[in-house]
């Protein structure tokens, strides 16, 4: 009798599906969005949550997705936005990040003051972090 070849399809575990991960990340983001900058609570929460995700990402406790064996030369297109961003960030930082020529984070600060925008940005950060952990 012929043996069936082993299947190696990526079948996400139940807790790894968006129906589970999105509400959990949203709940964590809602909490993070309430914590003001420079507060001890915000520092502890962000460092703790990031630390837990970093630990998951560096350990082998979570199954990872298939990694591309190589990438084409077209990947160098990604250098373009990275360079544009890097040039402006470096220039604004070296010139002192004044109101007339602010760094990206100085521009983002007023946008992140509201709880809704802050929670939304927190969700984007956690969602991307969760994606990196499983890569």
């Amino acid at each position: 009798m012929d043996q069936q070849p082993e299947l190696s399809a990526d079948v996400p575990r139940a807790w790894d599906r968006p129906v589970f991960s999105v509400p959990i990340l949203a709940f964590l983001s809602l909490i993070g969005g309430q914590l003001p900058s420079f507060s001890t609570a915000a520092n502890l929460y962000t460092i703790g949550l990031g630390g837990a995700l970093a630990w998951l990402g560096l350990s082998h406790r979570i199954p990872r997705r298939a990694v591309p064996r190589g990438i084409s030369a077209s990947a160098s297109w990604w250098l373009l936005p990275a360079l544009v961003f890097g040039v402006f960030e470096a220039a604004t930082f070296l010139l002192g990040s004044r109101d007339e020529f602010p760094t990206f984070s100085k521009l983002a600060d007023p946008l992140l003051e509201g709880a809704t925008a802050r929670s939304t940005a927190y969700f984007a950060w956690l969602w991307a972090f969760w994606g990196l952990v499983r890569r």
Binding site: G32, L35, S37, F38, S39, A42, N43, Y45, T46, I47, L49, G50, G51, L53, A54, G57, L58, R65, V67, P68, G70, I71, S72, S74, A75, W77, W78, L80, P81, A82, V84, F85, V87, F88, T92, D99, E100, F101, P102, F104, S105, L107, A108, L112, R118, A121, Y122, W125, L126, A128, F129, G131, L132, V133, R135
Partner: protein, 69 residues
């Protein structure tokens, strides 16, 4: 000068979005940003996953920088 800075950062963000859109088209030769990150994260020096530590550490710092300070 403030307008120059805002225009520069917005240009970079729009370029990121356009490239991600282009990468997700069928038969695109451009890898997605996630694939580029995954490729960088493969880099190891001996048993040390240098690429993984760098990418995850960078993203951890980004969150702390924007949400805690």
């Amino acid at each position: 000068m403030r307008v120059v800075a805002i225009t520069g950062f917005l240009t970079a963000l729009v370029l990121f979005a356009v490239l991600e859109w282009a990468a997700r088209r069928e038969n695109s030769r451009i890898p997605t940003l996630g694939d580029v990150c995954a490729y960088v994260m493969r880099y190891e020096v001996g048993p040390v996953p240098v690429g993984r530590i760098a990418v995850i550490g960078f993203w951890w710092w980004v969150g702390w920088h924007f949400f805690a300070r």
